[in-house]
């Protein structure tokens, strides 16, 4: 998705194809448009996650079609489905294995809050074990809602100073 990026500027006073910009915005521009998801497909929401990869919704328009099942290669974990207490430690371990920077989308009511499964076996919200960036409502959310969450996450990433820690 090409959006007007005010951080990038074309300087006409310098000859040649030169774009002047801040390193932060260039890095963020790269990060936002190639966000490889780690599909944590646990339950029903995983089917909508697969639908969003299908032809109609086509998540690749947002640069996030490269589903990597290896946590080492992915940037954004999409927790799609009910997280049970039995599954929670595995989820946390997979999150720990992901390389920085990393983001988490809690897709659906179950991942966000336990949803309709108020029971002894269900973790009441994945935010109890991993930090969540975007929550998506719905049971399950429609693929459009997931795409919206992805755009919201991209906007968040664009605002994040990537080199904050280097200068300190």
């Amino acid at each position: 998705m090409v959006s007007p990026n005010t951080d990038l500027a074309y300087d006409s006073k310098i000859e040649g194809d030169i774009i002047v910009s801040r390193l932060d915005s260039v890095v963020n521009w790269i990060r936002t448009n190639s966000m490889w998801p780690m599909p944590m497909g646990l339950a029903c929401c995983a089917i909508e996650l697969m639908s969003s990869a299908g032809a109609r919704f086509d998540i690749s328009r947002f640069g996030a079609e490269v589903m990597r099942f290896s946590p080492r290669q992915s940037d954004c974990m999409i927790v799609a489905g009910t997280v049970t207490y039995k599954m929670a430690p595995h989820l946390r371990r997979i999150y720990d294995q992901m390389a920085e920077p990393k983001w988490v989308i809690a897709m659906g009511a179950c991942a966000s809050s336990g949803g309709m499964y108020r029971s002894y076996a269900t973790l009441q919200g994945v935010d109890r074990i991993v930090p969540v960036d975007v929550y998506v409502s719905g049971c399950p959310p429609r693929p459009e809602a997931l795409l919206d969450a992805l755009i919201k996450l991209q906007n968040k990433v664009k605002r994040t100073p990537s080199f904050k820690n280097l200068t300190a």
């Binding site: 497909g41 646990l42 339950a43 697969m50 039995k86 595995h90 499964y117 076996a121 269900t122 399950p140």
Partner: protein
């Protein structure tokens, strides 16, 4: 100055290495619970000798959400949405199976129109579930394009589901004693139109796999299950029929008027992965045939049973105008539909196999105990036996061919 080289005697070394007894040990490999080919959160604890599986121990429960306990704590009507999430690839079929089980307990007859609607929606659910199984199986054995073909068709089905129920796949459509709303006008024509355009596409999808050399290499004679084993392990659905057991509740114990439709029950000959795939393909053709037959005779009438007045909430207009209806509505919502005491067991032939509900009622609006018999649970129980002495790459092929869903396996 000349350097002296000593030429190593490679032949002798190789011979020595060949004679030497290597110390080998078995490798333990955990596959899952987050693994692309486990179709959900299943974990297989494999013990490997080289590439051969010497022991396979499935670990389940990663999606155990406590459905049975939840059922004991809410009224019969409130549990309907939870049945969506049992087999989340075919919620319409699970809804209807649950409703039929409770109707059996209540000894309630549903009108012919409701039966026809349930048959149509269940068969559509079967098609959508098998499409999903096929698409995912294609990915498992290395054929990506099948997935996109299948999902395009599934999206068309979802559009129809959405028009009927308001949701793409968590439909909660069946109610005890009927369905939540009548079929919208013109919907059946759209279903017929879908069926007409779907059949040639189905042939195209199946053509991608059926005579595909790579696909056949991965599936023929892999994961063979004998008929006796299939029965003993309690397999059901295409997995049982793939092994040559002609068992289909729609034929053997017809419900919802299945006896009036003309359809075949496909049966495999060998019981390998390829046979199970062929069964699913043929079942989709038969389902389409059932849908068109059901629409052709689509009966008029009510979309809920008139006897179900103690179960069904009355119409909003009636509630606001009549005191008795208001009280009735209040009782249904707060106390639940009043059921007689007793025990009932009902199984429906769902896409994945026979989904059963065993309901123990002590009368009142809440079940005392509800046991859900998930077909995937039983289908998976054969894994340790069928994976024994297979190659580790074939485990992926076997898993895909069993076409399970963890929602109803772990419940």
């Amino acid at each position: 100055m000349a350097t002296e080289f000593t030429v190593p005697d490679v032949a002798a070394k190789t011979a020595a290495a060949a004679n030497q007894e290597f110390e080998t040990e078995k490798m333990s490999l955990a596959m899952g619970p987050s693994h692309p080919s486990t179709h959900g959160v299943l974990r297989l604890q494999l013990e490997l000798d080289g590439e051969t599986v010497t022991h396979c121990a499935p670990v389940l429960g990663y999606l155990h959400r406590g459905d049975e306990k939840i059922a004991e704590n809410m009224t019969y009507n409130q549990f309907v949405p939870y049945t969506d999430r049992l087999d989340y690839l075919a919620p319409l079929a699970s809804n209807a199976a649950y409703a039929a089980a409770v109707e059996k307990l209540a000894n309630l007859e549903v009108p012919a129109r409701v039966q026809a609607i349930r048959v149509i929606t269940s068969e559509m659910a079967r098609v959508s579930s098998h499409l999903m199984g096929l698409g995912a199986y294609g990915i498992d054995v290395g054929a990506w394009s099948v997935f996109f073909y299948c999902f395009t068709e599934r999206e068309k089905l979802y559009t129809l589901f959405e028009e009927l129920t308001g949701a793409r796949f968590t439909t909660s459509y069946s109610r005890i004693g009927g369905v939540s709303r009548d079929v919208p006008e013109g919907w059946t024509d759209k279903v017929v139109a879908f069926c007409d355009q779907f059949l040639p596409i189905l042939e195209e999808i199946l053509k991608l796999l059926t005579r595909n050399k790579i696909f056949m290499d991965r599936t023929v004679d892999v994961g063979t299950i004998s008929a006796a084993d299939a029965i003993s392990y309690g397999l059901s659905g295409p997995n049982l029929r793939g092994s040559g057991v002609k068992s289909d509740l729609r034929k053997d114990r017809p419900y919802w008027g299945y006896e009036q439709y003309d359809f075949e029950v496909p049966v495999g000959s060998k019981g390998d992965c390829y046979d199970r795939y062929l069964c699913r393909g043929e079942e989709m053709r038969q389902s389409i045939s059932i849908i068109t037959q059901a629409i052709a005779i689509f009966p008029a009438g009510s979309y809920y049973a008139e006897d179900a007045r103690r179960i069904f909430a009355p119409k909003k207009a009636k509630i606001l105008s009549s005191m008795e209806e208001l009280i009735n509505n209040f009782m249904i919502v707060t106390e639940g539909p009043q059921m007689p005491a007793g025990e009932a067991y009902f199984e429906a032939e769902n896409p994945k196999g026979t989904l059963g509900f065993f309901i123990v009622s002590k009368s009142g609006g809440v079940p005392w105990r509800m046991k859900i018999r998930g077909p995937s649970f039983c289908n998976l129980s054969i894994l340790p036996k069928v994976c024994q002495d297979e190659l580790v790459s074939d485990v992926v092929s076997i898993l895909g061919s069993l076409d399970f869903v963890m929602g109803e396996c772990d419940r």
